[in-house]
C-alpha cells in the first residue's frame, strides 16, 4: 500500500494524493496531515486530488472534516483539481462541501491560500 507524501513549501503544506484512498488509508492520511501541521505550524494546507477518480461520501466527509480540524489549528485548507466525474458524483450524493475552499489547480490553490492566510493575518493584527 502506497503512502501519501506531505510536502512543505514555505508556510504551506502540499498533499498530492496519488493513490486511490480506502477508508483505512484515508483515516491515516488525516492523522498524518494533522500531526504534520502541529509539527510545522503551517499556515496553509493544499490537498491535490487531481489523480483521485473516486471520492465517496466517506472520503468527502473526511476531507471536509480535515479542513475543519485544520481550521481549528489555524490552518486554511484548499482542495484542488477535482475531476468532473468526482464532482458529479458528489453533487448526486448531495455533498456540496460548502465550507471548503476549492481551486482548479495547484497554482490557483496557492494564490487562494496566499489571500486566505493574508486575510487572517490582517484580521489578527487589527
Amino acid at each position: 500500500m502506497g503512502e501519501v507524501t506531505i510536502l512543505k513549501i514555505g508556510k504551506n503544506l502540499i498533499v498530492p494524493i496519488q493513490i486511490e484512498l480506502h477508508d483505512q488509508s484515508a483515516r491515516k492520511l488525516q492523522r498524518d496531515i494533522l500531526n504534520y501541521i502541529e509539527k510545522t505550524g503551517a499556515q496553509g494546507l493544499l490537498i491535490d486530488v487531481s489523480a483521485v477518480s473516486i471520492i465517496d461520501s466517506f472520503l468527502g466527509r473526511l476531507l471536509v472534516e480535515t479542513a475543519k480540524m485544520a481550521k481549528l489549528m489555524g490552518t486554511e485548507t484548499v482542495l484542488v483539481g477535482m475531476k468532473k466525474e468526482v464532482v458529479l458524483t458528489l453533487i448526486h450524493l448531495g455533498l456540496t462541501m460548502k465550507n471548503l475552499h476549492t481551486a482548479l489547480n495547484i497554482e490557483d490553490g496557492l494564490a487562494l491560500l496566499k489571500s486566505l492566510t493574508g486575510r487572517t493575518y490582517e484580521k489578527n493584527r487589527k
Binding site: 482542495l79 458528489l90 482548479l104
Partner: protein, 281 residues
C-alpha cells in the same frame, strides 16, 4: 373448426383475384384522395401482400401470436406501408380505412360461397383478423412517430448547451428554454468539461432565455453553481430580470452565495475582476 378455417382459406386463395378487384373498387370509392397520392400500382402491391398474408394467417389459431414468423413478416409489410404513407402526410385514419375496406371485399365472397350455417362464424373470424391488421398498422404508425420524436429530442439535447469562451479563463453558457433535470445534468457535464479543459476560473450562466424560473429551476441552478464551486471555479448567474427576482423572493428561494447580475455585461465585468483582468481603455 381448424379444418373449416383451412377450407375458407383455400376458398379465399381460389377467389383471390375477385377479392382484390372488389377491394380496389372499394378503395377508389372510399379513399379517393389516398389512391391519388400513392397510385393504383403501389396500392395493388400492398393489397396483394396483405391478402396473401391474410390467407396464410387465417387458418392459424388466435392464440398463436407474435412469435409466429408470418406475423413478423406482415409486421414488416405494415411498417413499409405505414412508413410510406406517413412520409406522404397520409393520416392514420386513412390508413385504417385502407385496411378496413378489405372487409367489404372479403365478406361478399364468403357470403357467396359459404352456406348459411357456417357464415357467421367465418365472418367473425375474418373480421377479427382484419381488425387486428388495422390495429397493427396504427401501432406501427405510432411507433414511427415516437421514433421521430425521440430522435428530434436527442438532436435538440445535443445543440441545447453551447459553451462560449468569452475571455481568458472565462466561459459563458447561455441557457435557453426549459431547464428540466435532464438538461441540467447535461448542462453540468458540459460546463464541468469546459472548466476542466480550459481551466477557466469563472463560469457565467446566462438565464435570459429561460422564460419561467420557479423553485425547481432555481434548485437546478444552485446545483450547477455548487458543482462549479467544487471544481474550484466561480459561477455567476446573469440575466436575472426584475420579474425573475420578484418571483424568486416571493417563492422564498434562497440562492445561497451564488452571485447574480441582471445583464451579461455586468456579469462579464465581475468575471474580469475575479480573474484579475482588464479590458484595455
Amino acid at each position: 373448426m381448424a379444418s373449416e378455417k383451412k377450407e375458407i382459406a383455400a376458398l379465399l386463395s381460389k377467389y383471390q383475384e375477385e377479392i382484390l378487384d372488389a377491394w380496389h373498387r372499394q378503395l377508389i370509392v372510399r379513399s379517393n384522395s389516398l389512391m391519388e397520392i400513392i397510385g393504383l400500382t403501389e396500392a395493388k402491391s400492398f393489397t396483394q401482400g396483405i391478402l396473401e398474408h391474410f390467407i396464410t394467417l387465417f387458418p392459424l389459431a388466435e392464440t398463436e401470436n407474435d412469435e409466429n414468423k408470418s406475423y413478423r413478416e406482415i409486421d414488416d409489410l405494415f411498417s413499409d406501408l405505414s412508413g410510406k404513407m406517413t412520409s406522404q402526410n397520409i393520416s392514420p385514419s386513412e390508413i385504417a380505412v385502407f385496411i378496413f375496406s378489405m372487409k367489404e371485399a372479403v365478406f361478399p365472397i364468403l357470403q357467396k360461397y359459404i352456406d348459411n350455417k357456417d357464415l357467421s362464424g367465418a365472418i367473425i373470424s375474418a373480421g377479427r383478423l382484419i381488425d387486428r391488421f388495422a390495429v397493427n398498422t396504427f401501432e406501427i404508425y405510432l411507433n414511427t412517430r415516437e421514433k421521430i420524436i425521440s430522435e428530434q429530442q436527442r438532436a435538440f439535447m445535443e445543440i441545447s448547451v453551447p459553451v462560449v469562451r468569452v475571455w481568458h479563463r472565462i466561459i459563458m453558457i447561455p441557457l435557453i428554454g426549459m431547464l428540466d433535470s435532464e438538461r441540467t445534468q447535461l448542462m453540468m457535464e458540459v460546463m464541468l468539461t469546459a472548466l476542466e479543459d480550459t481551466q477557466s476560473k469563472v463560469a457565467i450562466l446566462d438565464i435570459s432565455g429561460i422564460p419561467v424560473v420557479d423553485t425547481l429551476v432555481a434548485r437546478h441552478l444552485i446545483t450547477a453553481a455548487s458543482a462549479a464551486k467544487l471544481m474550484g471555479a466561480e459561477c455567476i448567474i446573469t440575466g436575472v430580470r426584475s420579474r425573475i427576482a420578484q418571483t424568486l423572493v416571493q417563492l422564498g428561494v434562497d440562492l445561497g452565495d451564488v452571485v447574480t447580475r441582471t445583464t451579461m455585461s455586468d456579469g462579464l465585468q465581475l468575471a474580469l475582476e475575479l480573474t484579475g483582468q482588464k479590458i484595455g481603455e
